[in-house]
């Protein structure tokens, strides 16, 4: 057990160190993704300013939504699918199999380290935006102060977010046991992410049927769930319902991963292609 813990800690520190080395990739990510978000913010701000009854979302609340959505979007490690698939296809997985630390946990820690480092680098940027944009900081603090349990809920939401984010991409990467390339399924996952995560539009403004369908997919819990939780837009019962569904989605993903791993590892050939 000690050996396992020690190797896990070493692996985790190495992953964080490696993630920190790629700071420039985060800067490129922020610069490129921010441009797209400027479009969302401009469009929705105009829409909210034009709405006849401003009871659903005040314009500033919509700006806050997209700022927070940008933060949660920034935590996504889209390369994780490719990394896992490459390890399987190239045969690199073979070396991991003889190491003391199990490969699925190693992959999990690698993705977690990427998200962690990104959050450390993104938080100051988001804080500056909240502070500079007129009225945004007030809107943010008002959202947080709506209920004493908002921060607690957000903590739980983030656990679900991180687990859904990592497990979904790991499960998709395991498709490489059966497929020569996972580029196709990965692109479908990305488009599903855009359609149901709330990164393009606030999910609580979507039609009921879409909200219902999306809430049974892991992508809903990657952006929409933590963002709406932090904004205090769920009632207590709504939060419990979505948190429950999120945990159910995680359980299903875990079962899929266990089944795919157990079947795949039996057919895995270390030769690679």
């Amino acid at each position: 057990m000690n050996r396992l813990l020690k190797s896990g800690l070493i692996h985790a520190s190495q992953c964080v160190e490696a993630a920190l080395l790629y700071r420039s990739s985060l800067i490129i990510f922020v610069m490129t993704e921010l441009i797209g978000f400027i479009g969302y913010i401009a469009f929705w701000y105009k829409a909210a300013s034009s709405q006849p009854n401003q009871h659903l979302y005040a314009p500033i609340a919509l700006v806050l939504y997209f700022v927070l959505a940008f933060f949660h979007h920034g935590l996504q490690d889209h390369a994780a699918v490719r990394n896992v698939a490459t390890d399987i296809r190239m045969g690199k997985l073979a070396t991991s199999l003889i190491r003391p630390f199990p490969y699925p946990f190693a992959a999990f820690i690698k993705s977690f380290a990427t998200s962690l480092v990104r959050s450390i680098l993104l938080i100051p940027l988001i804080a500056i935006v909240l502070w500079l944009f007129p009225g945004l900081w007030e809107s943010f603090t008002t959202s947080l102060n709506q209920s004493t349990s908002t921060l607690l809920h957000y903590g739980l939401a983030m656990v679900i977010t991180v687990l859904c984010t990592i497990l979904t991409r790991f499960a998709m990467g395991l498709a490489a046991f059966k497929m020569s390339q996972v580029w196709g399924p990965d692109t479908v996952l990305i488009s599903l992410y855009y359609a149901t995560s709330g990164v393009v539009f606030p999910m609580d403004l979507a039609p009921q049927w879409l909200q219902h369908v999306a809430s049974w997919t892991p992508t809903y819990y990657m952006v929409s769930f933590p963002t709406l939780t932090m904004m205090g837009r769920y009632t207590e019962s709504q939060f419990q319902m979505y948190a429950g569904r999120g945990l159910f989605v995680i359980a299903v993903l875990s079962l899929i991963i266990a089944a795919a791993w157990n079947r795949g590892i039996k057919t895995f050939e270390a030769v690679g292609i």
Binding site: I28, I35, G36, A42, G184, T187, V188, V200, L205
Partner: protein, 279 residues
Amino acid sequence: MTTRNQVSPLRLHWSLFKRVAVVSTNNMLIYRSNLIFLFLFESLFTFANIMGLKMGVDFAGGSLGGWSTTEVIFIAFLYQAGHQLFTTFCIAGLFHIGFFVWSGRMDYVLLKPLKPLIGMHAATEFIISNTPNVLLSFGFLIWSYLKLAVSRPEPLTAGAHVALLWLFILSLAVRYGIALLVVSPAYLAEKLAEGEDAYWSIQSLGKYPRRVFNPFLQTVFDYIIPLSTIAAIPAEALFGNLSTPNIVIFSLVGMLFFMVSLGFHRFCLSRYQSVNTGV
């Protein structure tokens, strides 16, 4: 002037285009599953965008800065049609520039008796697997056009249709120009080879009506980086909201932008040193 033994450049490039299309089709049909995956990817992505735009206009009470839901959806499908054409015929050649520079394959492209950019397109493939999406996007464009035509009190004029067609062609040149601006720095430094993501983000701003943006950004997108030309201005020309002088000005801006981006590409290419590591 051509003699009997010479082939005109136009004919030469046409046969080159056909050859790339045939080779691309043969190669890409090996991966038939890509047809399904690309179809699912683009369909879901389009669904997300259109759903978002429709929700926004509905949220605004059915009119966004004077634009109805039908008009905003038409702009979105116009944007989508250009996007699919560009994806099918241009992205492989343009977005492989960084990889070719990094791996040293650009030397082989430059040795061809072709203009460098044409050489890049000839050395890569068309994304033939995306053809269903091209057809589908034009189908939706026609559908939204008919819906728009029926909903308008006055008929759309023939001149407006000509302006739409011309500005749509120009919008493809503007897309090409934006892509050139973000990929060309790859010639200057290996670390600047990741321009593709920047292209997707920048061009995504072209799917909104112009009045969505504040006056400063609107001016930038009209006259400096003509993102408005991607969809909003062609749509406005069809609706008859643009005067002829305005159409001429926006056309000149779009053409100038394209020429400047070609010049920028030429400048960066002239700095290419063929000493890349490939590691």
